[in-house]
C-alpha cells in the first residue's frame, strides 16, 4: 500500500448515552455501543461498502465521519486533514471547505427534500451557502446538474411531491453534487425505491463515479446491490467489523460465520438454485450490553469449540487484504 488512502478511519467509537426517565435528576443509566472501534480506509475513486443488519451501526459510522454526530473517539483523515481537528477549531471557513468535500445522500428521498422548495431552490441552496460559483452562473450550474443526473430543464420549477421516488433520489444526488464533493456517502440510496427504478439509480451512481471520479461510501443491508456497485466491502455486526475484503473475494469465499449466514439467507431469484440456507438462531443482541468475547458468539455454531465467550477475536489478515475477526479462522 504505497498510495495514501483518500479516507482513513482509525479506531472510531460512537457511544450514545441513555438517560433515566423523568424531568429532574436525569441520570445516565447506560451507553449504546453503536460503533465500537472500527478502522478502514478507502482509496480515491473507489466505492467502499458497509453492510449489516439494522442497528449494527452503519448509519452511525457515516454520521460520525461527517461530524453530524461527532464521534466519541477516534480519528478520521480525509486526505491529510484530520476532520475532528477542523471541527474543533471552530473556524467557519475551514469547516465549510471541509463540508464541500463530503456530501450525504439520505435513505429516504421522501423525507430529505423540503416540500415547500422547488427543485431549483433545493439544488441552488448549497451554491448560496458555499459561494464557490459566481451568482450569475448559478442557473447554468443548475441545468448542468439536472442534466448530469438525467432530469430535464423543466423539472427545475417543480416541487418534490410532483416527482416519483426515483426522480426524487436524482434530485438528492444533484443537490449533493452541487458543491463538487470528492466523497459521497450514500446511505441506503435505493432501499425505498421500486425494483425497476433501483437499477436506474445504481447505474447513475456508477456513471457519475466514472465521470467525476468521486469516492463513495455505500451503506446498505442489501448484499446484492453491494456486490454490484462496491469495490471493497466491510461486514458490520453490532458496531464492529467482522470481515473486510475485496467484493469478489468476500462473495466467493466468505470466512466469517456471520458473513456466510448473511450470504446464504439472501433469496436467490432462481427456483432451481440450491438452497443451503444457514438459518441463524435468535436475533441481534442489544448494543447496550453487548455479549462478551466475540459479539457474534451467542448465535454462532462454532462458539463452543473455540471458547469465543472468553476470547475476543481481532481482525486478522488472511491474505489479499482480506481481514477476518473470528477465532475459528485465526
Amino acid at each position: 500500500m504505497s498510495k495514501k488512502p483518500f479516507l482513513a478511519v482509525e479506531n472510531l467509537f460512537k457511544y450514545f448515552p441513555i438517560f433515566s426517565r423523568g424531568i429532574f435528576l436525569k441520570k445516565q443509566v447506560g451507553l449504546i455501543h453503536a460503533v465500537d472501534g472500527i478502522s478502514f480506509s478507502v482509496n480515491k475513486g473507489t466505492t467502499f461498502g458497509l453492510v449489516g443488519e439494522s442497528g449494527c451501526g452503519k448509519t452511525s459510522t457515516a454520521r460520525a465521519i461527517l461530524h453530524l454526530d461527532p464521534p466519541t473517539s477516534g480519528s478520521i483523515y480525509l486526505e491529510d486533514e484530520e476532520i475532528g481537528e477542523v471541527f474543533k477549531s471552530k473556524n467557519r471557513a475551514e469547516i465549510l471547505k471541509l463540508r464541500r468535500k463530503m456530501q450525504y445522500v439520505f435513505q429516504n428521498p421522501y423525507a430529505s427534500l423540503d416540500p415547500r422548495m422547488t427543485v431549483a431552490d433545493i439544488i441552488m441552496e448549497p451554491l448560496m451557502i458555499h459561494k464557490h460559483v459566481p451568482k450569475n452562473k448559478w442557473h447554468d450550474k443548475l441545468y448542468e446538474l439536472l442534466e448530469l443526473v438525467g432530469l430535464e430543464d423543466y423539472h427545475a420549477e417543480r416541487y418534490p411531491h410532483e416527482f416519483s421516488g426515483g426522480q426524487r433520489q436524482r434530485v438528492c444526488i444533484a443537490r449533493a453534487l452541487a458543491v463538487e464533493p470528492q466523497l459521497l456517502i450514500a446511505d441506503e440510496p435505493v432501499a425505498s425505491l421500486d425494483v425497476s427504478v433501483r437499477a436506474q439509480i445504481l447505474n447513475l451512481l456508477q456513471e457519475l463515479q466514472q465521470k467525476l471520479s468521486i469516492t463513495y461510501l455505500y451503506i446498505s443491508h442489501d448484499l446484492s446491490t453491494v456486490r454490484h456497485i462496491c469495490h471493497r466491502v466491510a461486514v458490520m455486526y453490532l458496531g464492529q467489523f467482522v470481515e473486510i475484503a475485496e467484493t469478489e473475494e468476500l462473495f466467493s469465499s466468505p470466512q466469517h460465520p456471520y458473513t456466510q449466514a448473511l450470504l446464504s439467507s439472501i433469496p436467490v431469484p432462481d427456483p432451481e438454485a440450491k438452497r443451503s440456507r444457514i438459518i441463524l438462531p435468535g436475533e441481534v443482541p442489544s448494543p447496550i450490553n453487548p455479549p462478551s468475547g466475540c459479539r457474534f458468539q451467542p448465535r454462532c455454531i462454532y462458539a463452543k469449540e473455540h471458547k469465543c465467550v472468553e476470547n475476543k477475536p481481532k481482525l486478522v489478515n488472511v491474505g489479499n487484504g482480506h481481514l477476518v475477526a473470528c477465532n475459528k479462522v485465526s
Partner: protein
C-alpha cells in the same frame, strides 16, 4: 386432474374514487389458488397486490370499492355475502398477515389479549382454554418462553418476534387460506430467512393454501408453487414458478428478472426498465406496459391484450408473446 381450486378471482375491479379522479387500483384481475399450494403475487408498489388481497376479505379501505368481478371461495361468491357472514370467514377461514408487524398489533393490549380475541371470536372456548391455545400457537411459531412472552406488549418485542406473533395469530383458527402481504419486507435478511422457513413449515403442517404477496423475485422463487405477475392493476402472466423464471413470455416479467441485481448473475451494468410506473387515474391505453416496453408496436397501444393460455397452465397478457423470442436471463446463464 388438476387439484381443486380453493379461491378463484374473476375480472376483479376495485376502484378508488378520489378528488383527483378514479384510481383504477385493480382493473380486471383474474387468478386462482389451488388447494395446498402457494401462489406468489408479484409486482411493484402500486400494482394492485395488496388491494387484491384486501378485496378478497372485503376490507378495502374507503373510498375504495369493488366495482365488478367475482371472488369464489370454496364455491361461494364472497362479494354476495353480508357483512356478518364475511366476519365469520375473516380470521377463521382466511387468515391475513399484514406487511408491517409494528402497526398491525395494537400497542395498548398485551399479546395474550390480541391472540385470545381471535380465538374466542371464532371458537366456542373459555378464556382459559383460549389462553392455553394461544400459548400453544406461540410455541408452534417458535417463540422462546411463550408463557412469559404472551404477557408482553408489542413494543417489548423485536420486529421478528412481532411478525412471528402475527403469523401465530393468523393461524389461530386453522384457516384454509392464508394471505401474507409482504410478510418479510421490513425484516433483516437473516430474520427474513427464519420467518420464510417458519411459514413454509407451518403451511405444510397445517395443509393450508397461501397467497404470498411480495415484490421480491428471490422470495417467491424459494416459496411459491405458482406465480402471478401484476403490473398497474392487471395480470401480466401466470404460470408455475419454474416457467416464470425459465420461460417467461411477458416483457415485464423478463424486465423484472433482469433489472434486479442478483448474486447469481453478475453484470457490469444493470439493464434498466425506462420510465416509471404509470399513473392509475389515466393508465396508458391498450397494454399498460407498452410505454416502457422495448418490444412495443403500434397495436399495443390500441387494445388491452387478453390473458391467453399459450400452453397448459401458462397465461400471458401480451399480443406479441408468440411472435418475439424472449430469453430469460436464467436460461442464458444455463447455456453458458
Amino acid at each position: 386432474m388438476a387439484p381443486k381450486e380453493i379461491l378463484k378471482i374473476e375480472n376483479l375491479k376495485t376502484y378508488f374514487d378520489t378528488w383527483a379522479g378514479i384510481v383504477k387500483a385493480v382493473d380486471g384481475v383474474s387468478l386462482d389458488v389451488r388447494e395446498g399450494e402457494t401462489l406468489g403475487l408479484v409486482g411493484e408498489s402500486g400494482s394492485g397486490k395488496s388491494v387484491t388481497a384486501l378485496s378478497i376479505l372485503g376490507i378495502v379501505p374507503r373510498p375504495g370499492k369493488i366495482i365488478d368481478g367475482k371472488i369464489t371461495y370454496k364455491g361461494e361468491n364472497l362479494l354476495e355475502k353480508t357483512e356478518s357472514d364475511l366476519q365469520k370467514i375473516r380470521g377463521k377461514e382466511i387468515g391475513y398477515i399484514f406487511q408491517d408487524p409494528a402497526t398491525s398489533l395494537n400497542p395498548v393490549f398485551t399479546i395474550a389479549n390480541q391472540m385470545t380475541e381471535v380465538i374466542r371470536r371464532h371458537q366456542n372456548v373459555t378464556k382459559k382454554e383460549a389462553l392455553e391455545k394461544a400459548i400453544e400457537l406461540l410455541r408452534l411459531a417458535e417463540i422462546p418462553d411463550p408463557e412469559i412472552k404472551i404477557w408482553n406488549f408489542p413494543h417489548q418485542l423485536s420486529g421478528g418476534m412481532k411478525q412471528r406473533i402475527a403469523v401465530a395469530r393468523a393461524l389461530s383458527c386453522q384457516p384454509s387460506l392464508l394471505l401474507a402481504d409482504e410478510p418479510t419486507t421490513n425484516l433483516d435478511v437473516t430474520i427474513q430467512a427464519q420467518i420464510l422457513q417458519l411459514m413454509k413449515n407451518l403451511k405444510e403442517k397445517l395443509g393450508m393454501s397461501m397467497i404470498l404477496i411480495t415484490h421480491d423475485m428471490g422470495v417467491v422463487a424459494g416459496v411459491a408453487d405458482r406465480i402471478t405477475v401484476l403490473y398497474a392493476g392487471r395480470v401480466c402472466e401466470t404460470a408455475d414458478t419454474r416457467t416464470i423464471f425459465y420461460n417467461p413470455k411477458h416483457p415485464y416479467t423478463i424486465a423484472l428478472l433482469i433489472a434486479v441485481p442478483s448474486l447469481a448473475l453478475r453484470r457490469e451494468k444493470l439493464a434498466v426498465i425506462p420510465g416509471t410506473i404509470p399513473n392509475l387515474i389515466e393508465p396508458p391505453s391498450g397494454c399498460r406496459f407498452h410505454p416502457r416496453c422495448e418490444y412495443a408496436k403500434a397495436e399495443c397501444a390500441k387494445e388491452i391484450p387478453p390473458l391467453e393460455e399459450i400452453e397448459p397452465g401458462h397465461f400471458v397478457a401480451c399480443i406479441l408473446a408468440s411472435e418475439i423470442d424472449m430469453k430469460s436471463p436464467l436460461e442464458a446463464k444455463a447455456n453458458e
